[in-house]
Assembly symmetry: D2
Homo-oligomer: 425 residues x 4
């Protein structure tokens, strides 16, 4: 069980410097096809359509989060909290695998492929399969991941408001998009975490860095994760996949040069009753290349709608997002039907080419939601100088943090860019 001292495999990382992988099971896990697959899934899905250099993969994020976790565990030990070598290894395994259940384009497709799906369910399923493969060596890691392990703070490093997952992805996404405003002070946060009464807490001197972290998170949501072009691209892709499913239902399936996608688009998979082995196998066979190979193939599809939507996506002729003050009303949507049909016609999609409801592929109403910080259930706790613990938004003298606990809801509508929504409001 013991990792030989001083044995690391090193990876370069422009974000955090070197990544140190303790030799042994962690190296074996990284070499496993399930983890190697993450090299072929972009962390930010369609984010590269807005930020051309946001092309980094889930793989480097998994390594980065693991490295940060390793550093914070070392610091916490140094401050006197006892952590066994096995616990260190298991926590690193848990964070390495925390996102292993992501599918093509990270979040984009999740709900298009499997109903009631959540990528963490898949991560759990995959960890369990790996645990079998490695003869139970992942049992403690799974227990930490599922928060059933007694030392709660280990789970909090993996999943909480101030976990190493967030610390890595915010810093990494800021780095690769070039959005310098999203940069957070990772080293300072790591230096100011400690364990108190079995919980992960923040030392008081780290409070401003965490304020900055919360604000940067908000910034990245508004400027990157929920950027209007990303929202439009996601809707565009979901429309295409919906069309393929319909074609299956209509008995006119297109060529789908990806066994995994073919499986999910032809079946109606439901995750509610658990993920069975076949589902996991098909799922782990997929990555971004499957989706792009299909899109490229569909550029030649016989179905006009599928053909044109796929071509337009690949040539980056995307739909457009317009944010609204309040959710789009039915009457707004009604009034858009006819102009949208005109646009479709212009694109080469005639009414009879397609389904009854052609406009539904290029016209969506939705609501983007984010909370920069929400102090319910899993608050960030701050250790005062007098030894007492206080919830973060109270410990901070900043009224604006309390303000940030309110979720940001932004209704929007996705539509062909030929249409100016303002004219219909």
């Amino acid at each position: 069980m013991k990792t030989a001292v001083g044995q690391y495999k090193l990876f370069n990382d422009p974000v955090h410097g070197f990544i140190h992988i303790p030799k042994g099971i962690l190296v074996d896990l990284i070499d496993h096809p399930y983890v190697q697959r993450l090299r072929r899934i972009r962390q930010l899905g369609l984010g590269y359509l807005v930020y051309p250099t946001a092309e980094h993969s889930r793989f480097s994020h998994a390594l980065g989060a693991m490295e940060l976790c390793q550093r914070v565990l070392q610091n916490i030990r140094h401050k006197g909290t006892e952590i066994t070598d096995e616990e260190v290894e298991s926590t690193l395994i848990a964070i390495l695998l925390h996102d292993v259940g992501h599918g093509p384009l990270s979040h984009t497709l999740e709900h298009s492929l499997i109903d009631h799906f959540d990528h963490e369910m898949m991560s759990t399923k995959i960890m369990s399969a790996l645990n079998d493969h490695f003869n139970g060596r992942l049992s403690m890691a799974i227990s930490i991941f599922e928060d059933t392990y007694p030392k709660t703070f280990l789970h909090q490093l993996i999943s909480s408001q101030l976990d190493m997952d967030r610390l890595d992805y915010l810093r990494r996404d800021s780095f690769f998009t070039g959005v310098s405003e999203g940069a957070i002070g990772v080293p300072r946060i790591i230096e100011t975490l400690r364990v108190h009464d079995g919980q992960l807490v923040l030392e008081k001197k780290g409070i401003y860095s965490v304020e900055n972290f919360i604000l940067s998170r908000r910034f990245m949501y508004l400027q990157v994760y929920l950027h209007k072009t990303v929202l439009a691209g996601d809707a565009h892709i979901r429309g295409i996949l919906r069309r393929v499913k319909e074609l299956y239902e209509m008995g006119k399936p297109p060529v789908v040069p990806s066994p995994g996608l073919s499986y999910f688009l032809s079946h109606n998979s439901v995750a509610q009753t658990g993920i069975h082995d076949e589902m996991m196998m098909q799922y782990t066979s997929m990555d971004d290349h499957d989706l792009y190979a299909c899109l490229k193939s569909w550029q030649q599809s016989e179905d006009t709608l599928l053909r044109i939507l796929s071509s337009r996506f690949l040539d980056r002729q995307l739909l457009r997002t317009t944010f609204l003050d309040e959710p789009a009303s039915d009457s707004l949507l009604d009034s858009l039907q006819s102009p949208v049909l005109d646009v479709l016609d212009q694109w080469g999609i005639q009414k009879d080419d397609s389904s009854d409801d052609a406009t539904s592929y290029v016209l969506y109403k939705d609501l983007s939601t984010t909370e920069a910080y929400h102090h319910r259930g899993q608050d960030i706790m701050v250790l005062q100088e007098n030894g007492e613990i206080e919830e973060f938004s109270k410990a901070s003298d900043a009224q604006h943090i309390a303000a940030l606990s309110q979720p940001i809801r932004r209704p929007y509508i996705v539509h062909p860019k030929e249409i100016l929504i303002e004219k219909f409001l």
Copy 2:
């Protein structure tokens, strides 16, 4: 022809800050599918197998080189050299498109798909097609690219020992690999270029920065571009493609879920007599996704050799490179035959599964060559304080630059990692 003043489309770039695209034809070109395709081709091919974050595309490189070119043109104008608005635009077009002829994985596949091919030939062909499409608006750009335009220095910005292509890729590749030692002082070099007697020259005060540029280039070749794992990965891929070609010849073609790759792997395309339209069309339909979709499909191939080589590649069970003091002798290769066959057998490839010469897919000898600086034909010229021009390696007081003019040749052998070459020397 005139670009409206002050009209830019901006892209974020973590490497150089903002990229400014003058509105007009440059924006139109970037929106064209031929350029959008570059988003789906990794700049460093298989470099990400060694440097996990080296996942950046040719697209961001093309934009970056264009931005640097724009900056240097502005400086040169400012120093008194006359350059028309049309010349600026055409130079930017030329550099934007200089690499548009790259295929999947940048350099990896070039010679596997078309005999006697060079990606610059394809770039020229594509520019010519775009020129037709844009009614001759690219004529001056093509003339600059082909070095037939009278103001030679414009061509030198695009293609010379100190061109904006190199400046961008060195800085960018250093940034995304995290190899800080490869970082060069781009702003200083840009500030110290000027035009003298119609030629691009370096002001004397830039000399140490250019020394550093040459040494960083050498560094990047040794540590990144010709990294032993990259060489092994390239050989691995070429072996797979050779097998597919053979299967076509044997009348047992595998499924090839990419029309472009299918075209080139089933034909024997030759570029010597020029690139015809069909070739260009098929070529520009391909990107990295085509290759990966094929590799993923071939994991299920009926041909054992193809199936196992493809699976091993995707799971990153790569071949290994060993550098030698001198080129591998025939007797060395002979002595490796039998142990390599044993390894293949271990992998599940029996002798009769495969071709007569099974070992040839996993055993290669080769020679990597690079010159950090070569002063033949297109020397870097330095403007002395007395107004005279001197060739760079003479202007520098560094004997080591002269030393660097010697090409570095490193013979190597690629082989299964189960075999320790040292034992056979």
Copy 3:
């Protein structure tokens, strides 16, 4: 009046890259002793006592602000606003000289040396002297600086809530302290400024960057500018200077190896009725070295209080700041008298060594105030997509920005570190 095109003097700057000084009067001004003096004044005064690398001077800040101003002027021109060459030059002069009136340690000494003083009064006086010296070449610059020039936006670049002064100092101070959380997106803000109806406005797309700028400003105030050790050091220095003034009054002046400091400590200078020439001359003879030379000399003073306070300062045995929930009451201060006298005794300061009121040198109550953003008088105005102008905190969808308009007031007490204030509350 015209600056020859393409003639720049370059300075390296790790913060913004190169600084370009147009040759001509700007180079002459930088070479002038009044500006060279800024090389000997630390931007952050005593900030280096907390952040060891915060040792940068006002000189590099002046150059940096000038460079940013140059860039934004170029952009604004590019967007179609007419600005003459003379206006560019004059704006650059104005920002270069905006802080030329700072004295030793920037803000620390201002009120100790001259009553009712403000460094901008001195900047104006010095500009006027320079204008005489340069035969009226600075008249337009002075008019811009004093906001009497018709094109208001030029003044706003130099002095407003979003001026180049703030942009430079926030970025620079963040860089040199290593407080990465204070980093702001300077290039993006510069790209999104424009002139509308003669006013400097922000394009809507810059809104999040400016939010981030406001929050970073708040961060830097709390973590750097009003850091408790800086507040303690400032109080320490002011106590020493007050003692020297008293010694003059008592007819027992110490050695003051600085003509400038000697002048101000022996006189009672008042700025209310304007700054006369003698005052300016004495003032511009001083820099940080004057203060430190005095402190070092006072380590040997015959006056015990002065000797010990000076030695303790130089050896970094500083006073301590304790922040309070509300301003220190008289009864708190009373109850501290006796323990503070004990501490002084411990330090070697007996009651009769010193003034009647020995504790007053080491015990202060004060209030630090900062407003991250205040929208009164000189609001940041945002240009909406529909062409209308809106005040920033309304244009932003962030309630927390409104919250930040409230000033932060933090009462505190400075005292010997041997005393634990909590025990007296």
Copy 4:
């Protein structure tokens, strides 16, 4: 003797991230006036005259070198080399204090104040005094510093071709000058050091990083440390101090508002027979402020030569350096006498104002020498994969490294900028 686990005092450092000071004697030493003094000595002396932001102090360098040493010690331990806690602490003490003997402006004044002086002699003397003060706690540190401690590799970390001193100063000076070309890959070098047979060696995979380190060192010498303006400034200062010494000898001493400088300029101190206590006390009372306070005072000196040279220095009207192909001949110097006297006259220095040999203050010939790498005595040794050790320039396949072992000698002449040396060659 034991450092309590987990007890660190943290400093921010923009160069390496956080600096961790183990609580205990290391914190006490940093708080000691001898170390605090380093806050007032600029690392690069007059380098800020060329690179305005090169204003960082020896103090931050000492902390940075200590931090790197701590990191490499941790790695080396991790790789299996036994190092006791006391050895770690002593090595950190030794590197913290390695430069404690530097005087004002680091290297500039060394030979002007004390004959046959070397700052390392003073460092040793000061360490010895501190050892007395701390009751022998520094004995092991001194033994490591003087290379009498059996574990040689500890000394090599402090003083060798690849020591933590060089690693810190190259990285730090590159950072603060903004000379990005001088940036070295500190983390990689630290990761690739280990101990073999009791010696510090480099693992083979670190070889290119060390090549880069050597070339960066050369770069920094040519572009920064021996920059022609720095050489001119140093000569300017030395000329001023020589004049002061002469005035003492002539019985007309100027005011010297610094006890330390007064001591050394009025005495003829010789270090050859060791440094006595009085010398050390006077020496440690001085820092950069002493020199600048004197220069400022001398602006009012009655001695014309001293007055004018001091004023010109403070207003940055420096001498100029011209590099020559070979050392300046006597006849060249002779031919310059008369024109230089004319320049002095122009400055207001008449022949009879000054010494017999007025030109000697503004006309110097000298030779700057640097070796990027010299493999004599203390070579960098490389650990091959086969377990053998090879000297670095042989292990590297780069002929240019061998070339770099040759020292660079550049003869030069310092002279008034009004004179164009080329005209006299």
